[in-house]
Symmetry: none
Subunit: 190 residues, 4 copies
DNA sequence: TATGAATGAGGATTCATTCAT
DNA sequence: AATGAATGAATCCTCATTCAT
């Protein structure tokens, strides 16, 4: 029961943030949308901030699982890299609402220790995944900085896909990143 | 007088968003911090959203002028590219508060037409600057996508400099981007 | 519970309008007077205008029930007419506050669609009641205009009873209207 | 100069009350509409309530002059009566805005001593005019009550003309009152 | 005479939270 | 486990008023 209710509320939170913006996503609207009463949030998350943190955790878990699942089928280092990149641009990451939640999340990081913690965890996982995949492809001293650049590019392109209607498509984003990866490998080859 | 007051209020807005987060930056706190009364906001910006829009416009103007000023001294295409990149990582862009305002701004874009407009303008200027500088360096069909990738990387690295204490420094960020630029040019040279 | 709270708030609204005038009847004063918190108004009426509309509806219902109750005992057409007239001058209609609410209500009709609707309903009911009672007493072509004149006189005299201290009393008002009715019947008799 | 400014502001007050309702007619809107600054009101009327009182006084003066002017051409008592009645339904009394101001005025009488004074003056003038005209037509003991009834009917019909779109027209109102007058005279003749 | 900058109190409204049921 | 009534603080905004120019 608890898990069902929590899932319902997280789902409704994402939907409300999508539809009316982070600022207007009040507890009463969220709970009404979930078909539940307003008191329920206190019951399961103790707090509004508890609900928001849980929501962000949920999104991070979804992304993590997507990455893990795509990595399963990767055989070569290059395939591993592309798996990581692709997982960030899967359909799940552009579902209505998901985008706004991530953006709101970033905006809250500087003033919320809880969310800052989540942010750090997420960033480290990404960095670690990328470095692991890059190690066989690049000289050791280039691995870390290339991983950072790649992670940054993923984030930057993702924002553009999300915010700029008629801008970059996920497909184009992936191709831009492939070009980055390839040129880095080529240049550092000999 | 009008310009002085507006500047005071924009300054105070940035400071408050920095100190207490976007959500807690209320009109009364902002105006008190500016040493003015709360009614003054309505007087000069008609609205809270008017003040926020003006604040973001201000930050964009500062960035634009920084870019323009750095471009003045650039002689070669490569220098132009670096000028653009550098201007995004100048000290002004990491002054306390500036970071949070940009992040909050992005979070509001999906639900605020006004801010969406500003966002589009800013993005186009960046893209256009980069393409202009890249044209002499790359085959025509590579210019647009490389500019997009570079812009995305700038944004992504900027977020990391801003959000992750002890992560990437602006200096490292610039070096990562130089590496990206160089490899793209090298690979596409012959 | 809901009905009790609504009644409390409507009662308090009437009292506040009476004591401090329509302009000064704020939500916080009204709710405090009802012994409740200010948020309660939103809870039950969603709006201040919701509360005002409900208050006016309440007064109209009271008047309607008074009329209906007096009509129960009326046997002849003439008695019916007097019953309608009397109900408009019953003690309930001059209870402290009731007068001011009606006046404020009229003042808001031109700019409030909701109240305009209520006004129309009330006027039609009065007109219909009067015509029904006048039909056996007057030639058909005189019924409508006489009803209108009578309704207007009721309203005009009611205002004078309400606004002019030391002016007309309800008793005198009723006698003036009786005289109007009698003369109209007499003149149109043969 | 003073008279010009005062007239401008009174005119603007009536227009604003008409367009946005009494509640929304703020000093800044009124003065802007008059093409003047907001401070001007304090200068010429010391107060907002001063402006409102002056506005109501103005409307009363206009009505009084209309009555006086129509009475000039009246020769018989009956003509005098009709002149008084007609003056209340002249075009000036239904000019946009005038109606709302009178209604708002009535609503304020119970809580404003100033406006209550004006109200009393206006009512007495009307009563006195009517009694003077009725004296030659009715037995002495009927004059006062008939005047009161007539005044009330004028007011009631005027409200209906004003508030109920598609209800009574001024022409019909006058005819209803003529019928009242005639029947009263006929019945009391012998 | 006239302006309009500046104030700050007061308005309606929204909302997270609490709690009895 | 779940409700939703009730609170009251906080928010934005409006506005009459004051006053230096």
């Amino acid at each position: 029961m608890e898990e069902i209710r929590k899932a319902q509320l997280i789902e409704a939170t994402i939907a409300m943030i999508h539809e009316e913006g982070f600022t207007n996503a009040s507890i009463s609207k969220i709970s009404k949308r979930a078909g539940l009463s307003s008191g329920i949030v206190a019951h399961y998350f103790s707090d509004k901030s508890g609900l928001l943190t849980a929501t962000q955790q949920h999104l991070m878990r979804v992304l993590g699982e997507e990455t893990k699942s795509q990595l399963l089928h990767a055989r070569t280092p290059m395939e591993r890299l592309l798996a990581i990149v692709n997982s960030n641009f899967s359909d799940d990451q552009f579902k209505p609402g998901v985008v706004n939640v991530w953006l709101a999340f970033w905006a809250l990081v500087p003033t919320s220790p809880d969310l800052a913690r989540l942010h750090r965890i997420n960033e480290r996982r990404m960095q670690s995944n990328l470095q692991h995949a890059l190690k066989p492809l690049l000289p050791a001293e280039k691995v870390a900085s290339t991983a950072t650049g790649l992670a940054a590019m993923v984030e930057g392109l993702w924002i553009r896909c999300a915010l700029t209607k008629g801008g970059v498509t996920p497909k184009q984003a992936i191709s831009i990143m492939e070009s980055y990866i390839n040129s880095q490998i080529l240049v550092n080859q000999d």
